[in-house]
């Protein structure tokens, strides 16, 4: 059994460049935030963070293509990690653009800590995509999770916000416990935490593969990751937390956390535990089916749009699991493509909802949207585009994403799962299109006034809409990128 040695690794800045940039920006924002008087310089902190994220994004694109294992295998730099970092940077970018507008009406969010936590959460997410060691995954997961627990409860003057943060924290800690226990069992079986070495050990010792201990470890890890991606039956926290958290954060949680957790899930299950694929496929098939069905069916009866999107996020986790069940390179590429598409779509939708935020409350009931399509035509148009994408109607990106996921399942022989996926998409049409119908075909009922949005959020929404249409109409650029990322995954 390998001893846990203490080795000072060689410093490899390139392997952690985007994360390092994000961390430095986070610290700078924190310091600037402390030194400037509260509530004064309204959006400078946001713009400062924005610069950091953009630089990180550029550095990601520049190092894309390099393959290296750094820090004794703790950090893997390959196309896969670059793609995840790309998604994380885009998610953070759009969240900040939306927050700069949102914070004008919720001054409590306007402080260094807010952006600092956002950036540290991004660091954690990004590391989950590049971690090559179970320990590293756990550290990254906790960095991400703790930042997000705090962000969820950031509106500390609202009981609902605090309640949601508390729930998320308690259940998250609970799930992390399972995950850690799972890691321990795997370590106990194989004697290593390094993903590549675990795989090598199992190849050398096939008798261990079907030991109860390893199987138990896999079960518990499924719980831990399943909690983060909002998989049934570990999804119960999602609606309450999404509803209670500040709207600017909800989209971040739905997309960033999902992307990071799926990244780690793919790495652990396909790199380290690829030998067990035949064993997990059955239960994951069932979970994928239940997750998307439960998510969609319950979303039907929601009247609060944030809650509706929470259930929709559960359903999308189900679609993503379809790609996971397919298990092929095609399925994995499909997951990456879908995660990016979902990031643009969901952040766009939450960005629109956040537009209606103002002092003393928000408009999140579906009835509040009645007639807004004609009252604010551009906002209505943007929301319609995002809803079409969620529902998977061409030419929006959601269609191509589902196309790749379901076709990968068909090719891998899971025809029924693909059929259920399509049926679920049809069910989901109802509640997504209801938003559009309410916006355009209902008379204005309430006196909903949208404060004039700042330029930042408009830019953010335009980016999201362009992303959705670009990925839907010309999917090949990102699709090729996703395929190459999966091909270039360090094994």
């Amino acid at each position: 059994m390998e001893m846990l040695e203490f080795v000072v690794p060689a410093l490899n800045v390139k392997a952690i460049l985007p994360q390092a940039i994000l961390s430095l920006t986070a610290l700078t924002v924190l310091l600037v935030g402390v030194s400037s008087p509260h509530n004064k310089k309204t959006s400078s902190l946001g713009y400062l963070s924005l610069v950091g994220v953009v630089v990180a994004l550029i550095s990601t694109l520049m190092i894309n293509g390099a393959r290296e294992s750094a820090y004794n295998g703790m950090v893997l730099m390959d196309g896969f990690s670059s793609f995840i970092t790309l998604i994380v940077c885009i998610v953070t970018l759009l969240t900040i653009l939306s927050s700069i507008n949102y914070q004008r009406f919720f001054p409590r969010l306007n402080c260094g800590e807010y952006y600092c936590l956002l950036l540290f959460a991004a660091v954690g997410m990004s590391f989950m995509g590049s971690a090559g060691n179970l320990l590293m995954i756990f550290l990254a997961l906790e960095t991400m999770s703790i930042s997000i627990y705090v962000l969820a409860g950031f509106k500390s003057d609202e009981a609902q916000s605090i309640e949601s943060a508390m729930k998320y924290f308690l259940l998250g800690a609970f799930a992390s416990g399972f995950l850690l226990f799972g890691f321990a069992l795997v370590y106990g079986c194989t004697g290593t935490m390094d993903l590549v070495k675990i795989s090598a050990f199992l190849t050398a010792h096939p008798e261990v593969i079907h030991s109860k201990m390893l199987m138990g470890g896999v079960a518990l890890m499924t719980v831990g990751f399943g909690f983060k991606v909002a998989m049934f039956p570990f999804h119960m926290w999602t609606p309450d937390v999404y509803e209670g958290a500040p709207t600017s954060i909800t989209g971040f949680m739905a997309t960033g956390v999902k992307a990071a957790a799926f990244a780690a899930l793919l790495r652990v299950f396909f790199v380290a535990l690829g030998h067990l694929q035949a064993d997990w496929t059955g239960i994951m098939w069932l979970l994928a089916f239940l997750t998307m069905t439960i998510g969609n069916v319950v979303a039907l009866s929601q009247t609060n749009i944030k809650r509706m999107l929470a259930y929709s996020s559960i359903a999308h986790a189900g679609y993503l699991l379809v790609g996971f069940v397919a298990g092929s390179k095609l399925g994995q590429s499909g997951i990456l493509f879908y995660l990016l598409s979902y990031a643009f779509t969901n952040l766009g939708a939450f960005g629109v909802i956040a537009l209606l935020g103002r002092d003393g409350g928000e408009y999140t009931s579906l009835d509040d949207f009645a007639g807004l399509g004609f009252k604010y035509p551009l906002m209505g148009l943007a929301m319609a585009v995002f809803m079409f994408s969620m529902a998977g109607i061409p030419p929006a990106s959601g269609f191509m994403g589902k196309f790749y996921l379901f076709s990968s399942a068909m090719k891998a022989g899971f025809i029924w799962l693909a059929i259920f996926g399509v049926i679920n998409s049809v069910i989901s049409l109802y509640y997504y299109l209801r938003v559009v119908v309410v916006m355009y075909f209902k008379e204005v009922e309430r006196d909903v006034v949208m404060p004039k949005p700042s330029a930042a959020v408009v830019v953010g929404l335009v980016i999201a809409a362009i992303g959705v249409l670009q990925m839907g109409i010309f999917p090949s650029y990102f699709w090729d990128m996703a395929r190459q990322s999966v091909q270039a995954m360090l094994m």
Partner: protein, 703 residues
């Protein structure tokens, strides 16, 4: 420079984006910015096209093909499609007149639409979108992109037909165009799929022109015929041929510049372009070519006969367009692809001019009638007359176009129409009957066009009292395009003066690289191969003596063939002159009849109508085709759909759907109840899930 071809479509789409997104605001600030953007975009496209065109002319004829891949579009499985453009003589020709004529019509629209308030920006956005789609259609290097453009121009067409959608007739006309074109597109897309899969059977998965045409000989004749016919179904809708032409006359409900641009000069010729582009494919199927020629000839005659008695100035021109399109298909069908394309070009000039001239007349009439608050129909020729002196520029230019379309020697229409008629007679695919139909239709054309000119511009003004003094010439933005087009309509024909008239038919030679693999050359190639095979066999069997004999024989045959060829050429020259003379004579008779009936003895038309009421009503009511379709297609379909609706849909489908929806709704409510909000119950759910997972994996481990 060829790799800058993407600039051509990019300008109009930029125009669409600016005017489409910000148009409403720009219009509030200053209306003229909108048309500056729209016209400027098309002008830039035209300039780029010209540059590329002349660059291409600088190359030797066999190198005039350049394909430019802009970006990957769809790639999945065996299907790889690119947004890729092709520069060759055919695409450049189309692109030149599409952007050129398009630009003139854009400029004209400034004057025509000046009174439009609030939707001015929308009009120019649609026009630019149309230009973008049309450019994609003609520049595409594969069938899929062509189809995209094909649908795009269709979309713009419906939008613009129904532009004044608040009037019900216009909205209905838009719907009619939409439905008719759906039928055609159905055929078209099935044809494409058949082409794609049947080439795929030979391992060639492609829709790229250059690849398709080099491998098309792999297809069996039956499959080639099926593909050609299916594609032609698409053409009958888009290019308004029997039996799907019915939408085009109604499409005149749209603004007149639209009629000129889309429903006369460019979009409706895209079917002709498509077949000319696919000439190698069509050459494989003499049957399909026969069908194309027959439908073309019949349409030419049929539509011309309807045009004889119509009183709405735009309706006459609409049926004339249908008829002229028939000529083009006749040309294609007899294998004279270049002649067909030549007519596309000259027709674009003179028909755009006719429509714009008619628009100018209508504009003037509207103005006059508006002044005296009269509600008389401004498009009815019975209310016009004597406009010659009121609108002199319009009159002169209109007359030039009329001379051109009637086939008077010297004007553009003469050269192209005559080339088609001659080929219809002389080509191996042609027939005397086809020529005869074409010639009779030409006489009708001359008659109805001059009838239109006489009724509109000559005699006394029949407009209501007081309107006459308010009739005046249209603004400069409208008359200048008229003059430019008049010049082109007059001289455009000299591009392709036939050999018989001492020319060298430069037009045909220009298109040769694209039509290069025409039937003759293919036959020639095949013949060569056979001869070679026979030659080798002869050598093997008969040895050296046999070889020598064969060589002598071959040489003799060669001389004889040459002599025969010369003789044939002389004979055909004479025949060509003769036919040319006859068709001109027929046209002159048509003009003379029109002159007699509408200038000299103006009571004749009424007398004729009274003595042959049946024939007159038949023509006036357009052979009752609309009524026939109503009775045979629409009524039964409507009845059937009512049956489906009341019987099947409401009773069975709705029952099931509502039932399922109710069950799902109930289920949704139940689960919602479980979502209590208590952390403890959530934790219980996590634990239960964990237990199930653990049990599952432990069972897996044990088994």
């Amino acid at each position: 420079m060829f790799d800058k071809v993407w600039l051509i479509p990019i300008f109009p789409i930029i125009g669409v984006l600016i005017n489409g997104l910000l148009g409403r605001r720009i219009e509030n600030i200053n209306k003229s910015i909108i048309h500056w953007i729209a016209c400027g975009a098309v002008a830039l496209s035209f300039i780029v096209t010209c540059i590329l065109f002349f660059q291409m002319l600088g190359l030797p004829a066999d190198q005039r093909l350049y394909e430019f891949t802009w970006f990957d579009w769809i790639s999945g499985g065996v299907l790889h499609t690119y947004v890729a453009y092709q520069i060759d003589p055919l695409s450049m020709l189309m692109c030149l007149f599409v952007t050129g004529v398009g630009f003139l019509i854009h400029v004209y629209s400034i004057g025509y639409m000046e009174t439009e308030e609030g939707r001015y920006y929308r009009f120019f956005t649609y026009l630019n979108l149309f230009m973008f789609s049309m450019i994609n259609l003609v520049l595409a290097n594969n069938y899929l992109l062509l189809f995209l453009g094909w649908e795009g121009v269709g979309l713009c067409s419906y939008l613009l037909i129904g532009f004044w959608f608040s009037e019900e007739a216009n909205a209905i006309a838009g719907k009619k165009a939409f439905i008719t074109n759906r039928i055609g597109d159905f055929g078209f897309i099935i044809g494409l799929l058949l082409l794609y899969t049947s080439l795929g059977e030979h391992g060639i998965w492609t829709l790229r022109f250059s690849e398709v045409f080099t491998h098309v000989h792999l297809l069996s004749p039956q499959v080639a015929t099926a593909i050609c016919l299916l594609l032609f179904v698409g053409c009958t809708a888009k290019s308004a041929q029997i039996p799907l032409y019915v939408w085009l006359p109604d499409a005149m409900a749209g603004p007149t510049p639209v009629s000129a641009l889309i429903h006369a000069a460019t979009m409706v010729t895209s079917g002709v372009y498509m077949i000319a582009r696919s000439n190698i494919l069509y050459s494989m199927s003499p049957f399909a070519m026969g069908v194309v020629a027959t439908f073309g000839a019949l349409t030419a005659l049929f539509a011309a006969s309807i045009g004889l008695v119509q009183n709405d100035i735009k309706k006459v021109l609409a049926y004339s367009t249908v008829s002229q399109l028939g000529y083009m298909f006749l040309g294609l069908g007899v294998g004279a692809y270049a002649a067909g394309m030549f007519h596309v070009l000259t027709h674009a000039f003179f028909k755009a001019l006719l429509f714009l001239g008619a628009g100018s007349v209508i504009h003037s009439m509207h103005h006059g009638l508006h002044k005296i608050h009269s509600h008389v129909d401004a498009q009815d020729m019975r209310n016009m007359g004597g406009l010659k002196s009121k609108t002199p520029i319009t009159y002169v230019t209109f007359l030039i176009a009329t001379l051109a379309i009637s086939g008077i020697p010297g004007f553009s229409g003469f050269f192209s129409k005559d080339e088609i008629l001659w080929q219809a007679y002389s080509s191996p695919h042609g027939h005397f009957i086809l020529w005869l139909i074409g010639a009779v239709a030409a006489g009708m054309t001359a008659f109805y066009m001059f009838r239109l000119v006489f009724m509109t511009f000559f005699n006394e003004c029949r407009a209501p009292e007081g309107a006459e003094e308010h009739l005046h010439e249209s603004p400069k933005t409208m008359t200048v395009p008229l003059m430019v087009l008049a010049f082109l309509a007059a001289v455009g024909g000299y591009l392709g003066v036939p050999h018989a008239l001492g020319g060298s038919n430069r037009f045909e030679r220009y298109l040769e690289p694209v039509m290069g693999l025409g039937p003759e050359k293919l036959l020639h190639k095949a013949g060569g191969a056979v001869a070679q095979g026979a030659h080798a066999a002869a050598e093997a069997v008969h040895g050296a003596v046999g070889h020598a004999a064969a060589a002598v024989h071959e040489a003799g045959m060669g001389h004889m063939a040459e002599a025969a060829h010369h003789a044939a050429e002389h004979g055909s020259m004479f025949a060509e002159y003769l036919l040319m003379g006859i068709s001109v004579a027929i046209a002159l008779v048509g003009i003379f009849l029109a002159y007699t009936m509408y200038i000299k003895k103006r009571d004749i038309p009424e007398k004729l109508a009274n003595s042959y009421p049946f024939l007159y009503r038949l023509l006036l009511n357009k052979w009752y085709v609309d009524e026939l379709y109503e009775l045979t297609v629409i009524k039964p379909l409507h009845g059937f759909s009512v049956l489906l609706w009341k019987g099947v849909d409401v009773a069975i489908v709705d029952g099931i759907v509502n039932g399922v929806a109710r069950i799902i709704g109930w289920f949704s409510g139940v689960i919602r109840y479980i979502q209590s909000g208590y952390v403890q119950s959530y934790a219980v759910s996590v634990v239960l899930g964990t237990v199930v997972l653990l049990v599952y994996y432990i069972i897996k481990a044990i088994s």
